[in-house]
Amino acid sequence: MSSADLIIVGSGPSSAQAAKAAVGHGLSVTMVDVGHEDTEFARSVPDRPFDELRRTDPDQRRYFLGDSDPEEQHGSKKVGSQLTPPRQFIKRGVDQHLPFESSTFFPLQTLALGGLGAGWGAGTLTFESFELKEAGLSSEELEPYYREVAEDIGISGSTDADTAPMVLTIPNVQAPLENDSNARSILESYQRGKARFHRKGFYLGPSPSAILSEPLRQGSSVRLPNSYHDMDFYSDHQRSVYRPRFTIEELVGHSAFTYRRGLLALSFEERADGVRLLCEDVATKARVAVEGRALALGAGAINSARIALRSLAPMGTKVPLLCNPYNYVACVNLRMLGRPAADRRHSMSQLTGVVTTPGGGEADRTILSFYSYRSLLLFRLAREMPVPPFLGLQLARALQTSFTIVGTHHVDRHGPDKWLRLQKNNEGREVLAGSYRLSRTEGMERRRNLRRVLRCLLALGCWPLSVLAPAPGSSIHYAGTLPVDDDPRVPLRCARSGRLNGTKHVYLVDSAPWTLLPAKGPTFTQMANARRVVAGVARALRG
């Protein structure tokens, strides 16, 4: 059995960046991953604009609706049911291999190549120094790694926007993406009343994204700028939107990198000279051991905790949990009502808003992501309307060019009713169980912030039609399950270096160590932190 310098679990954004950094530091890497891929849709979604496909493609039903049962396709309220058919592979095998039970928390887990990054909205917001500090990270340490990741994956955004000091604190990014008609109209409204908005503590600017506005060489291939076809929820044409699998594909040609697909990491054992990772071959159910000098867990905060609990703690031991509370507000932008919108657009977040909290902690910001509603089809709108479908359709047609979805993320801190633990279910099967309940104070704070968001939207000319509170877990931002603790004796905690307490060779490269989850999307910071941790691992292995 060969032994790598570093075993990396998972292939998501953190693991991919950890692997790239490790290979760059001269380490040999074995990546262990189940690695499900889309085998159906990648070639069948044409690289043409959404509207053209809608008008001309007789086969569009297949990728817009999928082949599955209509109840399953449109009726499920489970987290992840919003994934379009070409992204449904992200959930494949999860119920079988990553069993989870809870009546209060409904996370989206994955066994896909690229992890949750396979369906990532590509937001790349940097954390500010006070957020990093409260999360157990250091801005001085992280800054160079933010830049490395940005150069590697390609980030577009505006460093001149009012929001830049809060959400994009790195220089030399690609030019911002073009905004669509709806977003331009909202931004104009903000610019006209900027002083008033700033007095309210509201700031708005283009969304920083891992979406290219200029070509970028990645390995031996060139990724192209976004074609504004509005098909980003359905395909990765041009490779404009970064996906972690691009990094894995680049590394697979490197002699120091081995990708072991089809293995589910179960637990680890420490040995004098390294670590032994026990896995299950998902095809044959056989147990497989992978050995290395060090282990980096990058399976995501939830599943890194599952592996750590199975390896280090008795059944029933609880670990804490962080997850951003999430709402989305369906609005009508009155300035666009009844007006035509240009077809040229990308599908991801067009604008990012920041709402600061008067009297709250510095990190208590609410982050808004503005999406224009277009490529998700009208039937999804009509289904939410309490009218017959024919009338709902006419209403959706009238609202379509002005319809705006504002995703609203709130900060999260640890609490007594937010936890995970391994337990046996009624069938005697080991499952990860969880609970997620906001305290009364948190709930009140969240409602107060939401009211402030609604007032800001009204002032922008965006009339809220409804506020939806999806189930806890639907933000798909998870962290804090094995948090940093400066006392190395506390089990199931980790050091600032990312090393898991009670171990010599096991490190966490995802968001499991964080002690705060700011309202900003965590992926960019996870990737930068993964590189930071791996730099430390390389130093430790060199001796």
Partner: protein, 64 residues
């Protein structure tokens, strides 16, 4: 809220609508209405009035 939920289309009706929407020959029936602000308001108002008129009958149909 219970009444509003009951008035929503069933999954079967939604699926039928989705199937029609992905038929390119019917594209025009699903295209955005972009004849100006006032026309959009007129459509919304008309839908609202019709929805109120239809609501009792719509709520009575066999469902779920």
């Amino acid at each position: 809220m219970g009444l509003l939920t009951r008035l929503r289309p069933t999954e079967r009706e939604v699926h039928a609508l989705a199937s029609l929407e992905t038929d390119p020959r019917l594209y025009a029936r699903f295209a955005p209405i972009t004849r100006g602000f006032l026309f959009a308001i007129l459509v919304i108002t008309t839908v609202a009035v019709l929805a109120v008129i239809c609501a009792p009958f719509w709520a009575l149909r066999a469902r779920r």
